[in-house]
């Protein structure tokens, strides 16, 4: 009980459990792919038919599991970009970047906890905006191309 209270009142900071490489290879593509998958799973959940209850429950379980997995994956990819790739100077050059990460992570959590298409779309939009900034920091021009996924929409890549 006391520990739960402490977890609510103490300000959160970061502790880095750093890995040995680091490889220097970063790409915002996986975050976008995960976000598209969250949208797709949210679509499936909204379309579940209830004529056969057993099948419906079975399908809901499987689809929800995939949605959870990809929400966690999106958050992991964003963490890597935020904490390993982007440096202090990037956050100064793009003052909206920190808030963008916060907003996108929040949308991902909401999409994971609910069947919420708006939150899922906000998570993708955030991942796309972060991708644009990523490519700008690499001195390449970001472009939005039509995605080939059944979710439609776009993927941010570079020229």
């Amino acid at each position: 009980m006391i520990l739960k209270l402490l977890s609510k009142i103490l300000r959160e900071e970061k502790a880095f459990a750093h890995c040995d490489i680091p490889c220097g290879i970063y790409d915002p593509h996986n975050a976008q792919m995960a976000a598209h998958t969250i949208i797709r799973m949210t679509q499936f959940l909204s379309e579940i038919k209830r004529e056969d209850e057993t099948k419906a429950e079975h399908d809901i379980t499987r689809i929800t599991r995939v949605k959870e997995k990809h929400s966690n994956l999106l958050e992991e990819e964003l963490d890597t970009l935020q904490n390993d790739y982007f440096k202090e100077e990037h956050f100064k050059d793009y003052p909206n970047l920190a808030e963008l990460f916060k907003k996108t992570l929040k949308a991902s959590t909401k999409a994971r906890q609910n069947i919420d298409m708006q939150a899922a779309e906000e998570a993708l939009a955030g991942a796309q905006d972060i991708a644009e900034i990523f490519f700008k920091t690499k001195n390449v021009e970001p472009v939005r191309v039509k995605s080939v996924y059944p979710t439609g929409g776009e993927i941010v890549t570079h020229k």
């Binding site: 520990l3 402490l6 977890s7 103490l10 300000r11 959160e12 900071e13 970061k14 502790a15 880095f16 459990a17 750093h18 890995c19 040995d20 490489i21 958050e75 992991e76 963490d79 904490n83």
Partner: protein, 94 residues
């Protein structure tokens, strides 16, 4: 420092602590006694808070390493961590 709430960033303490785990760290433990073998400690290094396990105590400080032996920085690169750099000990993982 009495208490800190820390979010783990990275994989080098897996499987004990995973990326995005939340932990409570206390600085009180080490006011009256020394860090000891197997304690999971947090310390400052180049303006960041790092988290590792104490593998060995030496005269000059502590040899630390991550639990994820395949993918972790340890004191061979970080150096021996002197006691005055250690902020606290993990007392709870949420």
């Amino acid at each position: 420092m009495l208490l800190k709430k820390l979010r783990i960033v990275g994989h080098s303490m897996e499987p004990t602590l995973r990326n995005r785990d939340l932990v409570l760290v206390s600085g009180i433990q080490y006011l009256f006694k020394k860090p000891k073998l197997n304690d999971i400690v947090v310390f400052e290094e180049e303006n960041k808070i790092l988290i590792k396990r104490i593998i060995k105590a030496t005269e000059k400080g502590f040899f630390v390493a991550g639990d994820n032996k395949k993918d972790s920085l340890d004191s061979r690169k970080l150096g021996i961590i002197p006691k005055n750099k250690i902020i606290g000990k993990i007392i709870y993982a949420f």
